[in-house]
């Protein structure tokens, strides 16, 4: 291996920004002492989040593979099962998530531009969207279907099933949407914490790591739904 001479940075300790207590919180926020600068800290957090999103995609990939296998085996069961879903609710939920993705992206911009008021409004709209999504899912989708006996596996008791394997379809439907719903809840929880922190002035120009990574996560929740929606609601 060749030896390397760098210009030789003088040995340095962190140059933390001066902390004046009258300044807004985001200006006083120090970075952890193993980094050389805020920018490095921010980059690392972003790479970390992208890696985490990769793991989430792979988690859902498992469900998609199971879906592909069983759809190939039982196309009839899937077509029949899908007919029982209401495209309108599904589409509405898609729109709701798209709006929330937009508002969360806007809130990052607000932080960059130091628009503290808009920042809170946009985050709040995102949270309301998450809530709406969950309400629609539970009251208009899960509850009536469960009542009619369209349930997963051995719980399946719908008397008019056209295909003997329809319970498999419902198993996958509940698994996929259930795990997705769990992610909506987690994402909303994280965004709620971000909202609370934004009231304390944690975010501002060049200091918006928290919002940025929470927003990335929220986009992922949205993207997964964009795949689930056609696969579950729009097949024949």
């Amino acid at each position: 291996m060749t030896s390397i001479e760098t210009g030789g940075n003088p040995p340095q300790h962190n140059q933390q920004p001066p902390a004046l207590s009258t300044e807004p919180r985001w200006k006083r926020q120090p970075f952890a002492n193993h980094w050389r600068s805020h920018a490095e800290d921010f980059d690392a957090c972003k790479i970390g989040m992208w890696l985490f999103l990769t793991t989430e995609v792979l988690l859902f990939a498992g469900i998609f593979v199971a879906y592909a296998v069983f759809r190939m085996w039982y196309p009839e069961a899937f077509a029949n099962g899908s007919h029982h879903l209401d495209v309108h609710w599904g589409a509405l939920n898609t729109v709701i998530l798209l709006i929330s993705s937009f508002t969360v992206a806007a809130s990052i911009r607000n932080a960059q531009l130091n628009q503290q008021g808009l920042l809170k409004i946009n985050l709040s709209i995102t949270l309301v969207c998450a809530l709406l999504f969950m309400i629609i899912k539970f009251t208009f989708e899960y509850a009536p279907k469960w009542a009619e006996g369209k349930r997963p596996g051995v719980w399946f008791s719908y008397p008019f099933a056209a295909d003997p394997n329809e319970h498999i379809w419902w198993s996958l439907y509940y698994t996929a949407t259930g795990i997705h719903a769990l992610h909506v809840l987690i994402g909303a929880g994280v965004l709620f914490v971000v909202l609370l922190k934004s009231f304390k002035g944690w975010y501002g120009p060049k200091h918006y790591t928290g919002i940025e990574v929470a927003g990335l996560y929220w986009h992922l929740v949205d993207v997964i739904w964009i795949f689930l929606f056609p696969l579950l609601y729009l097949i024949h």
Binding site: I4, N9, H34, E40, D43, G48, A61, G62, I179
Partner: protein, 602 residues
């Protein structure tokens, strides 16, 4: 270049204590450790937690071997003109003290149950709680930042969280054992994992434990990837990194890409068991082989999560203790990445007997590919040793053991990857011997070697070399006696996971059991050596072996923030031919003679 980089010797701006310096009284110190975000302390906590789990898994293994001392003989008697066969169960019931909760049932089937639980317990603990986290979580956590010249890993708090998740998951698993254990095997194949013992939640507990442990593994991997990308010291390019760091990096990639798949698999399995959703149940139109595909899609790559860190350790031990520049640095780095990549394409070789012919042929061919980068590595290690000045101390002896046993383990993988031979060897003791040669003979042996190599740095104390060598030799003999016999048993038709066997296998089984005792004694000696070193060991110098990577530049044990000044990298980690190692005396660690014109080392 021949001058050493002395910028951080001498003139310390301020005196910072070792990371082991206690903070206040006992309680304060415990609290300080429990809430620490120092990667070194977290690494040490992982090390002790993993050693403890290794002990538990080891006791279960000794129990399994003790049961196999005698075959559970079949007694044939004639009752009212009919021939009736029955088993005598006394031997099996000897396992009861190790696996609590089932002794009340009594009789032979209870005995068999206990046996199934003991080997499941052993397999689950050893894979999910010992080998998978072993090297990265303990030595990796401690040394990755040091070797990079960094103050910590990228996300220190996440690091602490992953330790707590590990402990939490392990408690789950141990709780299931205390409540009576599970008999699914470490692979959780359906229907064993979904139908047996429907009356209790223990199986769910253990599956959840594996799921939780997966999280801890993902967090460690994620942390390491970002650390390697963002925290290399000034002057350290990718190809100036020690190969241990490369190994941690490749491992981390596999951890991040494969573990989520086992996560969803285990979730689906829990749904299957608890809610009977039917996707793995053929009676409901589901497919148990789908479970196997999912499982091995994770679990084959994960065998490389187990072995690549071991490669990394060997890559450090051999050049340092042979005082020779590593042969083929780049080939090593690329072979590591190559193995990581191919590992995702070969999961089907665990299911040759359960899959279609074409698929089996493709998987077989791909599996042979793995052997190529592996062989490159073994070749390079041997070439590095050639004409080196080898110190026969414990780390080096462990590295040599590794070379021997890993080569056997890898070569015996080949008949298993061959369709015609695997038909006979699948699910036999041959497979058991194969994976013990790679996992124990490979990973655990390298791990123990690595612990000795870095022990003086971690704790600032020397260990007793003579007794450590005794332990090492016993482990070597015991291991080979235990597992080589199992290759022979396997080729003669002894199937895995049975509590009983025909009488003609008894001699080999007994040899194997005796081997397991020798192995156990070897490890106990190591334990004694470690305790003695902590209590009464001599103080270790900064660089006891004359290593060149950055961890040897700081003090032993390292100071709280690792380095007094951010190190600047001016030489490679294996440039023993041109650089005098830091903090060493040229009389003790002379540089190799310069080559005469025309002379070559290789």
């Amino acid at each position: 270049m021949s001058t050493i980089d002395t910028h951080n010797a001498g003139q310390h701006a301020h005196h910072e204590g070792s990371y082991l310096t206690p903070h206040g009284g006992a309680l304060a110190t415990i609290w300080n450790w429990a809430t620490t975000i120092d990667h070194k302390k977290i690494g040490v906590m992982y090390l002790f937690a993993i050693m403890f789990m290794f002990f538990l898994g080891g006791v279960a293994a000794l129990g399994v071997r003790a049961e196999l001392w005698e075959p559970t003989r079949v007694v044939t008697e004639v009752v009212e003109g009919e021939t009736v066969t029955s088993y005598t169960g006394q031997v099996l019931v000897n396992l009861a003290p190790i696996v609590p909760g089932v002794e009340s049932e009594g009789g032979i089937s209870a005995g068999m149950n206990i046996y199934n639980r003991a080997f499941s317990l052993h397999g689950i603990i050893m894979t999910f709680m010992v080998i998978v986290p072993s090297v990265p979580a303990s030595l990796g956590n401690f040394f990755l930042p040091l070797m990079l010249g960094a103050k910590d890993v990228a996300f220190p708090r996440l690091n602490l969280m992953s330790w707590y998740i590990y402990v939490f998951g392990s408690i789950f698993a141990v709780a299931a054992v205390v409540m009576g254990g599970v008999d699914t095997g470490w692979t959780f194949y359906t229907p064993y994992s979904t139908m047996t013992d429907a009356d209790h939640l223990r199986v769910v507990f253990v599956i959840l434990a594996a799921f939780i442990l997966g999280f801890s593994s993902i967090l460690t991997g994620l942390n390491f990837i970002v650390t390697v990308h963002k925290l290399r010291a000034p002057g350290m390019g990718w190809f100036d990194m020690p190969l241990f760091v490369w190994a941690m990096y490749a491992t981390a990639i596999i951890q991040v890409l494969a573990t989520p798949v086992i996560g969803i698999t285990l979730l689906l399995l829990i749904f299957e068991r608890v809610f009977h959703v039917g996707i793995f149940d053929p009676r409901m139109g589901g497919d148990p082989v789908l479970y196997q595909h999912f499982f091995w899609f994770y679990s084959h790559p994960v065998v490389y999560v187990m072995i690549i860190p071991a490669f990394g350790i060997i890559n450090e031990i051999i050049p340092v203790h042979a005082r020779k520049k590593l042969f083929g640095y780049r080939a090593m780095a690329f072979a590591t990445l190559g193995i990581a990549a191919v590992s995702f394409l070969v999961w089907g070789h665990h299911m040759f007997t359960a899959s279609g012919e074409l698929a089996a042929m493709i998987f077989s061919a791909l599996t042979f590919l793995v052997a190529i980068p592996t062989a490159i590595k073994v070749f390079n290690w041997v070439a590095t040793l050639y004409k080196g000045s080898i110190a026969f101390n414990t780390p080096m002896l462990y590295a040599l053991s590794f070379l021997f046993m890993f080569t056997i383990g890898g070569l015996t993988g080949l008949p298993l990857a061959t369709l015609a031979t695997d038909l006979h060897l699948h699910d036999s003791y041959f497979v058991v011997a194969h994976f013990h040669y790679v996992m124990m003979g490979g990973t655990i042996i390298a791990f123990v070697g690595g612990i000795h190599h870095w022990w003086p740095k971690m704790f600032g104390k020397l260990y007793n070399e003579r007794w450590a060598i005794v332990g090492c030799v016993l482990v070597f003999i015991g291991f080979n006696l235990t597992f080589f016999t199992q290759f022979i048993l396997g080729t003669r038709g002894m199937p895995r996971r049975y509590a009983s066997y025909p009488d003609e296998f008894q001699f080999l089984h007994q040899l194997s059991t005796i081997g397991s005792w020798i192995l156990g004694i070897g490890f106990l000696i190591h334990l004694g050596v470690f305790v003695h070193s902590l209590v009464a060991g001599r103080k270790a110098p900064e660089n006891p072996w004359g290593g060149l990577s950055l961890e040897w530049e700081t003090e032993s044990p390292p100071i709280e923030h690792n380095f007094h000044h951010e190190p600047i990298v001016k030489h490679g980690p294996y440039d023993f031919d041109t650089v005098q190692p830091p903090h060493t005396d040229p009389a003790e660690f002379p540089m190799p003679e310069p080559l005469r014109p025309g002379e070559r080392t290789h």
